[in-house]
């Protein structure tokens, strides 16, 4: 596809702009939802928005975005309110309460939708696009509305940045400082509902929760600073939104929601695997290196112990003896690593003994072991490398 079309073609430009607004707003506000472990709340509220959309359409009689967004806002908000009431007044846990509210509102929304579709009102055509999203249907008026609502949400977020940060990491401390934490919580939840509402037409109610959670979860992998995380999350949101919207509006009638969510899923997958420090690949690599390190010192001290028993500190032993002393495998490989470091040498008979450097190193390891119960320093550095995310995880 010719990318310059984004700037010249009206439809593509509108779609790309709309997806951009959506990505920024849901990415930034989603960060707080992820940090507060409210993934399910986002899911429930986006489903809960459906009856609001349809009811607003039935009242207004047109598909103008602003009233529909307003309806979605109210019903999403009502859903959140209901959940907190059920949790407070009964012993039903939050997840079950969210599930009930989600399915009730969504079921009711579907009911209204089928009802409206049977009315034969020509205006209703395309209302079902709110289920899975249709970015190609955006007009510039919609994008302006989305932009204005998004700007308000972002502005409020910046104004209350400090309070939201406090709420996400240490609400008890915030309360002790005299902040009205319940009020701040309500405000943040409302802003997240706003973010969901903005994406309804582009992504649809069913998959909108993924747009709240996924960019933030991906960003969380790369950084431990809240401001970087929010910015990165917005960037991921924009990439997923724009790529997804463009692919779906150029392709053969694909709904936008699924395509956007597939793009963001790929971003999340890459982040989970490859992000430095937290990525699964690096985790695996670190563990491998640690095991290697532990084996090296183990074999070295074994050699020292065996040699001491023989009275000759440089006495060489066959691999089999070392294997017997240290079951678990990898002995020969470890010996090769050690001889590369010049700590052991192989005799003509294929037996292994310490070199002078090896002897010194083994004695150092043994001394460190006997003075403290903790492993020697060389291992501490790798075995329990302090994770930089300690600050965020401490919460």
């Amino acid at each position: 596809m010719d990318l310059t079309l984004i700037f010249t073609d009206y439809t593509l430009r509108t779609v790309a702009l709309g997806a951009m607004v959506l990505g920024i707003v849901s990415g930034t506000l989603g960060s707080f939802a992820v940090l507060r472990r409210q993934a399910l709340l986002g899911d429930a509220m986006s489903h809960a928005a459906l009856p609001g959309v349809v009811l607003a359409f039935m009242i207004v009689g047109s598909k103008a975005l602003l009233p529909l967004m307003f309806g979605a806002l109210i019903s999403g908000w009502l859903g959140a309110l209901l959940v907190s009431n059920v949790v407070r007044h009964t012993r039903i846990k939050e997840d079950a309460a969210l599930g009930i509210v989600l399915s009730v509102f969504f079921g009711f929304g579907l009911l209204l939708l089928t009802y409206v579709q049977r009315q034969g009102n020509a205006q209703q055509a395309g209302l079902d696009k709110f289920l899975f999203g249709k970015a190609a249907a955006l007009v510039s008026q919609d994008v302006i509305t989305m932009g204005a609502v998004g700007a308000i949400a972002l502005l409020l977020m910046l104004l209350f940045w400090k309070e939201f940060k406090l709420l996400s990491f240490d609400p008890a401390y915030g309360a002790s400082l005299g902040f009205p934490m319940r009020l701040i919580d309500t405000l943040l939840t409302s802003l997240i509902v706003l973010a969901i509402v903005i994406g309804l037409q582009t992504v649809g109610v069913v998959l909108m929760s993924a747009m709240i959670v996924a960019p933030a979860a991906a960003a969380r992998q790369w950084t431990d600073r809240l401001d970087f995380m929010v910015a990165l999350s917005a960037l991921f949101g924009v990439i997923a939104g724009v790529v997804g919207a463009l692919v779906s509006s150029s392709g053969a009638g694909l709904s936008t929601g699924p395509v956007i969510v597939l793009v963001i899923s790929v971003i999340v997958l890459i982040s989970m695997l490859l992000a430095p420090n937290r990525g699964l690949f690096w985790e695996w690599w670190r563990q491998r290196r640690n095991r290697q390190q532990l084996r090296v010192s183990a074999v070295l001290t074994d050699l020292h112990t065996l040699a001491t028993a023989h009275g000759d500190l440089y006495h060489a032993h066959p691999v089999g003896t070392l294997r017997a002393a240290r079951p678990g495998g990898g002995v020969r490989r470890t010996l090769r690593v050690l001889s590369e470091q010049g700590l052991v040498r192989e005799s003509d008979k294929g037996e292994w003994g310490l070199t002078e450097a090896g002897l010194a190193e083994a004695e150092r390891l043994l001394a460190a072991e006997s003075t403290t119960d903790s492993p020697p320093e060389a291992e501490i550095a790798t075995a329990s490398e302090p994770r930089r995310d300690a600050v965020l995880d401490a919460k």
């Binding site: 399910l40 012993r91 579907l110 069913v206 709904s255 969510v261 597939l262």
Partner: protein, 302 residues
């Protein structure tokens, strides 16, 4: 009187309505019994995620299996069991925050499923059936599948009842008793997966969660004893199935949505009027207490 009999027997003249009623009752009971554990163990999100995640499997069955409902059943069952085992492995290895991971993986798989189905021309209709269910379209062989697999799920739960109760309420005790907690946990997840596939045709992917947790949550409000809760949940599930179908027949609304709405109405009744701890009860109790305090001002000051 005759009108009432006519009202009840009228729909039964249609064989598809009879099949639908049997299916709805069976599904209502199975979902409610399994849902009891889902609610007690806080696995609602898992159930929701799983029901969405099997969509790619259904899509494959739809594209390559000829699209008959029986083929969809087997493909759905395969995907659901594989996925539930996958989640078990991931959540045991720790590290990843469960709710976030589940949320993302399943949104991704759901999106993949929709994208796959949407490559077919007539997808709107077929997708609607998968998403929202069509209990009136249950075939005789479909009914057999529901009976056999639903029956198996209930049977396993009854046989392992004691073990499942222990690992649900006191995992530490379970470990002390040398119960194979991991195995039992995985088994429970497979049971949930099977239940979801069994109920798929009745209520569909989108409203699956309601069938799974609403009857159990309503029963949870009414009793504190597990066997009673299970029986009550099954009753509520079956009742919503029957009433929902009649509502759908006479009101002309989608069957899955009707069942779920009846279910929710029952939940609301329990929420408001549960003896001893319902919302209404609490209200009046509060008022009584305030009234009492007002009439004995000295007592309140002490």
């Amino acid at each position: 009187m005759e009108q009432i009999i006519e009202f009840i027997t009228g729909p039964l003249a249609y064989p598809f309505m009879v099949r639908g009623l049997i299916a709805a009752v069976l599904v209502g009971v199975v979902c409610a019994v399994v849902g009891t554990f889902v609610v007690l163990r806080g696995m609602a999100f898992f159930g929701d995620a799983l029901s969405h995640a099997i969509l790619p499997g259904l899509a494959v069955g739809y594209l390559y299996g000829g699209g008959t409902t029986d083929a969809l059943f087997w493909w759905g069952l395969l995907t659901a069991i594989l996925t539930s085992i996958g989640i078990g492995v991931i959540s045991e290895s720790g590290e990843i925050k469960e709710d976030t991971a589940i949320g993302i993986v399943f949104a991704g798989m759901f999106a993949l499923g929709i994208a796959m189905i949407s490559t077919v021309r007539s997808y709107a209709v077929d997708l609607a059936h998968i998403l929202f269910g069509n209990v009136l379209g249950v075939s005789v062989s479909g009914l057999w599948l529901i009976t056999i697999f639903g029956g198996a799920v209930i049977l396993i739960i009854l046989l392992l009842y004691k073990e499942l109760v222990v690992i649900s309420f006191d995992p530490v005790l379970g470990a002390t008793l040398r119960l194979r907690t991991t195995l039992l946990h995985n088994l429970l997840m497979i049971l949930i997966a099977t239940t979801i596939v069994v109920s798929l045709q009745t209520v569909g992917v989108a409203l699956m969660l309601a069938m799974l947790i609403t009857p159990a949550a309503s029963a949870y409000l009414l009793t504190r004893r597990l066997p009673t809760m299970m029986a009550l949940a099954a009753l509520i599930g079956a009742l919503s199935g029957v009433v929902g179908l009649y509502l759908s027949y006479y009101g002309g609304i989608a069957s899955g949505a009707a069942i779920v709405l009846v279910c929710t109405a029952l939940f609301l009744l329990a929420f408001l009027f549960a003896p001893g701890r319902g919302w209404l009860w609490g209200m009046s109790w509060e008022k009584l207490r305030h009234a009492a305090l007002r009439s004995f001002p000295t007592a309140s000051r002490q």
